[in-house]
């Protein structure tokens, strides 16, 4: 079975919010829209977003590390938000594992949001139904798009390629390899909700090299011996060794 998901690389996310704005842009006018706002130009603006980028800081100044943490529905493999829904409006797609809300069935009881420990469902105050990340279901299932564009809007927008998209049940997919080889982890694993989205941790990539390794001491083939330049009459060709 397919389980589509995102893998978010906290090692490269710079917190630019490009995924947030591209998500809102695509989805507010797409299948999952509108994503309504209240008082957008007033002192206290608020509205529906499927994706938010938060910022955390670890450590004590000056030894701190800043984490930009994009957060959206994790499309759990065992989603606690689905069985509690009294109307069946919340469901998990059989074919690709995406968790969705049918706005035509939702009665706006908000019970699903109580049952999600990640705080990623947002109630639309204007349409009075529950909304959440659809993994851009209208993009990823649209066969008229070229394959390179059959990806969530946030993935296409990310300037640092911090967001990888694919099937985590296919062991050879880019996401599975990333999770396996770069320490991908799930949020709040204690609950057993088995989130499909994973995060890649911060990694230090330093090479181990010593000073003496930069200059060859023995130099057996005399490769690094520079030709001595003649005092006069040098041309460009003479230095192009």
């Amino acid at each position: 079975m397919t389980q589509l998901a995102l893998v978010i690389d906290l090692n490269v996310c710079v917190g630019c919010h490009a995924c947030v704005t591209s998500c809102k842009e695509w989805n507010t006018s797409g299948w999952a829209g509108p994503m309504t706002d209240q008082r957008p130009y007033d002192a206290d603006p608020t509205g529906v977003f499927f994706n938010r980028v938060q910022t955390y800081e670890a450590g004590v100044f000056p030894n701190t590390e800043t984490y930009h943490f994009p957060k959206s529905c994790l499309h759990c493999e065992d989603p606690p938000c689905v069985p509690v829904c009294p109307t069946g409006a919340s469901y998990k797609r059989e074919d690709n594992g995406v968790v969705l809300v049918d706005y035509d069935k939702c009665i706006g009881c908000k019970y699903c949001s109580w049952a999600c420990p990640y705080g990623v469902r947002e109630f639309d105050e204007q349409q009075k139904v529950m909304k959440k990340c659809t993994l851009c279901i209208d993009r990823i299932t649209d066969m008229t798009l070229p394959e390179s564009e059959r990806k969530p809007a946030c993935v296409l927008a990310c300037p640092t390629r911090a967001r990888i998209y694919g099937d985590i049940h296919d062991p050879d997919s880019e996401v599975s390899v990333a999770i396996r080889e770069q320490g991908g982890y799930a949020l709040q694993p204690e609950w057993g909700t088995k989130p499909s989205n994973h995060y890649l941790p911060r990694r230090k990539t330093r090479i181990q090299i010593h000073e003496d390794e930069l200059v060859r001491v023995d130099n057996p083939l005399k490769k690094e011996e520079l030709p001595t330049l003649p005092d006069v009459g040098e041309t460009l060709d003479d230095v192009a060794w």
Partner: protein
């Protein structure tokens, strides 16, 4: 959690209504066993209608919680998995049976249908009441399990939640039954008052145990597990917006600890202490109005109790919404 008054009224009103019905039926059973004087059918009919009216008022209150009340019928479809859906079925079932119970009494359709072992005459009201009792207990279970089944909200995830809903509903219902019989001038005030006090004391036991439990535990997850950064000094700097969102409105009560303490003492007094004293006084003074006062104060206390119940719940999603910048 943010306490929603629609849900506070729903749970307290149907609790009283269910308790009142149980009181009426208990009275009938006692009368059948000749332990109490039999009441006029009018007593049961009017009592059932009061109970029904309370359940109906609760139902109306619940509609205010919904974004799309016109689609509420859809909520009956997922009873296999959702306690909320089960409640949506149990509530009308209980209302229907209570209505039938009242109607049977109103039209005096209480001729025995058959007699069990020569001593127990079974009539329509007995059958309807028995079924109604099942439905009412089922409804108590469904209502409480809506909260008690949310394993992430540890303050609710406990059998104590079910016990509280049951005992507090029964207590307030019997309290109302005492007030009702005092008003009707029947001799059942003492009987209902006694059971009201017993249920109230059971409720005191489980509610205080809940308060104690909720003061003790720590949540299974913390910020480190929520973000996946296992550093001892981890702090949120920005939650991604500055104007608030559904997540900051729905899951935070925004009340000061001082106010919550006040509410806690107030509900402990108004639900458990004052009504018991008033009922005892009513018994001694043979007063007709004190039981009504006892019920009124207990009901107001229950509103505060339910308010506090919601503020007690700490949702793990709050870990992600600690600082605004």
């Amino acid at each position: 959690m943010h306490p929603a008054f629609s849900v506070i009224f729903l749970t307290t009103l149907i609790g009283v209504g269910q308790g009142l019905f149980l009181a009426l039926y208990t009275g009938q059973l006692y009368a059948l066993a000749n332990l109490l004087p039999a009441q006029s059918s009018n007593f049961y009919a009017v009592g059932s209608m009061v109970s029904l009216a309370l359940l109906f008022a609760g139902l109306i209150a619940s509609f205010f919680h919904l974004g799309h009340p016109e689609r509420a019928w859809r909520a009956a479809t997922q009873w296999r998995t959702s306690w909320l859906s089960r409640e949506v079925l149990a509530l009308p079932a209980a209302m229907g049976l209570i209505f039938l119970y009242g109607t049977v009494h109103f039209f005096d359709l209480t001729k025995p249908l058959f007699v069990i072992s020569g001593t127990l005459p079974v009539d329509f009201s007995l059958i309807m009441g028995g079924l109604g009792t099942f439905a009412v207990f089922g409804l108590f279970l469904c209502t409480a399990m809506i909260y008690a089944s949310l394993r992430f909200i540890k303050a609710w995830y406990s059998p104590l939640t079910v016990a509280n809903f049951l005992f507090l509903g029964v207590a307030s219902g019997f309290m109302l039954a005492a007030a009702f019989s005092a008003y009707q001038g029947t001799s059942l005030v003492g009987f209902y008052g006694t059971w009201a006090v017993i249920a109230t004391l059971f409720g005191l036991l489980t509610r205080v145990a809940t308060l104690y439990r909720n003061g003790q535990f720590r949540c299974k997850v913390d910020l480190k597990s929520a973000v996946g950064v296992h550093h001892s000094q981890l702090e949120q700097k920005a939650q991604g917006f500055m104007g608030g969102s559904f997540n900051t409105r729905e899951f935070f009560h925004g009340r000061s600890q001082g106010l919550l303490n006040l509410i806690r003492y107030a509900f402990l007094l108004m639900v458990f202490v004052v009504p018991v004293i008033l009922i005892l006084l009513a018994y001694v003074l043979e007063s007709e109005t004190l039981p009504l006062l006892a019920f009124g104060i207990q009901y107001l206390g229950l509103i505060l109790e339910r308010y506090h119940f919601f503020t007690e719940a700490q949702h793990p999603q709050n870990l992600y919404y600690q600082s605004m910048a």
